[in-house]
């Protein structure tokens, strides 16, 4: 299994295969940098509030208050730490040979599952977008898949994933194969049409 494209265990992958002949191509989470930023923001906010609380305790000259305030901040940061991690952990982009799926579960707050079946769409464009120097340095970026359904156009974005160029290239190849066999958009190959003239139909009319 290529860990560049599939970032969960092989056993967990089986949960996403539920259609006939389906094969996993890409399962990705956002870049770990996104997780690091969330954890850093939890700690930095806690630290700032802790400083403010300590200043207030010094001003009010109360050791008890300082202790209670510190305990409260520790409880708060320990409660939000798993939240920061699990928000990142349960945000998955799954692309198989039959569907595109985005799962975004924020436990206790929101759930979002977007599912697109590949045999009902036509992929028109796959772009990799690395916006700046930091993203380039971390090999982080967006992959945008533009497709049109029979009813409307849509853009599907895999945001802030690792190795966007490789993922876009892989998806380009895979989708090209999938789309060629899609009965919604492409007429299945038939026997070539051969033009016939009257002499072929009525051989008696052929000049000698």
């Amino acid at each position: 299994m290529n860990t560049k494209f599939i970032e969960i265990t092989e056993k967990d992958c089986q949960n996403f295969i539920n259609l006939a002949g389906e094969q996993i191509q890409v399962i990705k989470r956002q870049h770990p940098f996104i997780l690091a930023v969330s954890i850093f923001s939890v700690f930095s906010t806690s630290f700032l509030i802790l400083i403010l609380g300590s200043l207030l305790s010094i001003f009010l000259r109360s050791v008890t208050m300082a202790l209670i305030f510190s305990s409260f901040i520790i409880i708060t940061s320990l409660s939000f730490l798993p939240k920061a991690f699990l928000d990142w952990y349960y945000h998955l982009y799954v692309i198989t040979s039959r569907k595109i799926l985005e799962i975004r579960c924020v436990p206790f707050f929101s759930d979002q599952i977007d599912d697109v079946f590949l045999d009902q769409i036509r992929t028109t464009e796959i772009d990799a977008h690395i916006p700046d120097f930091l993203h380039e340095l971390l090999d982080m970026g967006d992959v945008t898949i533009a497709f049109d359904r029979p009813s409307h156009d849509e853009v599907y974005t895999l945001s802030n994933i690792r190795c966007p160029r490789e993922v876009a290239s892989l998806l380009g190849k895979e989708f090209e194969e999938e789309m060629t066999h899609s009965p919604v958009w492409f007429k299945p190959a038939e026997t070539p049409f051969v033009a016939r003239i009257s002499e072929d139909i009525y051989p008696a009319m052929k000049p000698n």
Partner: protein
């Protein structure tokens, strides 16, 4: 001044108390998502979620003791 400190301490203890049901409900929601998606969270995070349910109670108990003994 004493009154202000008492009010702030009471607010802190009350807010800490709110984290007990929050963490309990949060963990049950995580277990539900785990069952739906079939993806378990790492062991460290699971243990942290368990600790988080009891930790506020322990802290509140210590805070109440502190308040009682400090008068």
């Amino acid at each position: 001044m004493e009154e202000v400190i008492k009010i702030i301490n009471s607010i802190m203890i009350f807010l800490s108390l709110l984290f007990v049901p929050y963490n309990y409900l949060y963990r049950s929601e995580v277990l539900q998502i785990k069952k739906q998606l079939g993806i378990s969270p790492p062991k460290v995070i699971d243990n942290l979620l368990k600790v988080n349910i009891l930790l506020p109670l322990l802290v509140i108990f210590i805070a109440l003791l502190l308040l009682i003994f400090s008068g």
